[in-house]
């Protein structure tokens, strides 16, 4: 990771404090009750972290993308659900910031987001698209006097009822093709989210992501001018994959740390005796190193590609393959590390109430392969591999 400037170090110090003092003590209850990590989000609001990536000239923290990724990692070490809520909010903020037109409505919005520390959730998945984020059914529909309306059926909306604002993918117009999409932002008061499902999942329970029907009416200026396909390729997809993989690495790192603490405790109890768990821990370290290397190189390559004029490199197939691959490998490797930690700790890690418990880590990371199903990404990659040259 590149060297961070002092204000960014201060930001990360605050994030670590919140992770240790707020997210960690509530993590078990958030998981058990499948409830929103309200204390962590409030603590993040209190230090202005929800606007950390908003440019300083709009009042925000102006931290780098690297610092944001590091923050996801730090929160992930203490509470996977808190880290996921933070990451998903930041994906929306980063997307808006990277596609901001000077003088647009969104400039004023980012100022408000900063002063009010507004939380954004996204509504990108949709019933009837077979899990393809690149297609929509719901459409922007003219509603008179410069306003538009839409109704969208979403199979999951993470923390939707806790968010102040929603960023939603839609077809550009009622007669537009499914792939001709735009992004619309609606504030609480402009939309109504009717929850349609229940939420009792295996892991990432605190993200509170049941399905819902979203109905909204909004001024047309609240639609981002850049077409969604460009936003998706240059920002939303790679940024999602990078921030998610950082928090998955955070969860896996904590599972490894617990396994290591377990081995140290065992070694102290039986000094000088052979310790099979120590050898298993060494194997586990190689697995964790692979994950760490993939995650950090993904971040570095994204930052380099973002610096090319017009972000040219990010719109190539080679880039799509690169950042899809980050998601695939990190989502496979993170639960593998957690399972390895269980192999080291044995029954002590299997139990939910010991200092070495890794059950929540394993369950949380098992959601990784479902957040945009890995098989769908493999299908996309398989198609891109037919034509891409230098991968």
């Amino acid at each position: 990771m590149s060297v961070l400037a002092p204000p960014e170090q201060a930001f990360l110090t605050e994030i670590r404090r919140i992770a240790d003092e707020v997210a960690a003590p509530h993590a078990i209850e958030v998981d058990r009750e499948a409830r929103f990590p309200a204390e962590t989000v409030q603590a993040l609001r209190d230090v202005g972290a929800l606007a950390a990536f908003v440019p300083a000239e709009l009042g925000g923290g102006g931290v780098s993308f690297e610092a944001l990724a590091a923050a996801c990692f730090e929160l992930g070490r203490r509470c996977g659900a808190s880290a996921m809520v933070f990451a998903m909010h930041q994906i929306q903020v980063v997307t808006i910031v990277r596609h901001l037109d000077a003088g647009s409505w969104f400039e004023g919005y980012l100022r408000e987001l900063t002063s009010e520390q507004r939380l954004i959730a996204s509504v990108t998945s949709e019933v009837g698209t077979g899990g393809d984020m690149g297609r929509s059914v719901a459409a922007v529909t003219p509603a008179g006097e410069g306003t538009v309306s839409f109704e969208k059926q979403a199979p999951t909306v993470s923390y939707g009822t806790f968010a102040d604002d929603l960023l939603t993918t839609l077809r550009r117009a009622p007669d537009a093709d499914g792939g001709d999409q735009v992004l619309a932002l609606t504030a609480r008061g402009q939309h109504e989210l009717e929850t349609t499902g229940t939420w009792d999942p295996l892991g990432m329970r605190g993200t509170c992501s049941p399905g819902g029907v979203l109905r909204a009416t909004l001024p047309a200026e609240q639609i981002l001018a850049t077409p969604f396909p460009a936003i998706s390729a240059e920002s939303m997809v790679p940024v999602s994959h990078i921030l998610w993989s950082h928090l998955w690495l955070g969860i896996a790192t904590d599972a490894f740390d617990r396994a290591r603490a377990f081995v140290r405790a065992s070694a102290k109890q039986k000094p000088g005796q052979p310790l099979p768990a120590a050898t298993r821990l060494s194997h586990l370290m190689s697995e964790l190193s692979m994950l760490r290397a993939e995650v950090s190189s993904g971040l570095r390559e994204f930052c380099e590609a973002s610096d090319t004029p017009g972000r040219e490199r990010l719109s190539t197939m080679a880039a799509a393959l690169r950042f899809n691959n980050l998601k695939l490998s990190a989502s496979d490797q993170a639960p593998r590390v957690c399972q390895g930690a269980l192999g080291v700790t044995g029954i002590v890690g299997f139990k939910n109430d010991t200092p070495f418990s890794v059950g929540r880590h394993l369950r949380d990371t098992m959601s990784a392969c479902l957040m945009v199903a890995n098989e769908r990404i493999h299908e996309t990659n398989a198609s891109l591999l037919l034509i891409a040259k230098d991968v």
Partner: protein, 82 residues
């Protein structure tokens, strides 16, 4: 060349509209060409014109319209379909 490009998109673009009705600068993606279909269009163009699109040209904007595709083929020195 323009007719050959249209024929390839008609055959491989799996467009929900009649390709012959689209103007030269029509946005093919907005007209319904999916990312998956566009890969087949690229493969067919490489085959028909006996060229290879380098990685920096393998992006959405290069295959967005008949005009853009023709410009890309000309840049690669493609002649008549092989």
């Amino acid at each position: 060349m323009p007719d050959a490009i249209r024929t390839i998109i008609q055959e491989h673009g799996r467009m929900p509209v009649d390709v012959s009705t689209l103007p030269d600068d029509a946005d093919l993606y907005a007209a319904g060409m999916t990312s998956h279909a566009s890969v087949n269009v690229m493969l067919a163009l490489e085959d028909a014109f006996d060229i290879e699109f380098p990685d920096h040209m393998l992006k959405r904007s290069v295959f967005e319209s008949f005009a853009e595709i023709r410009a890309a083929l000309e840049e690669l020195g493609a002649g008549a379909p092989a």
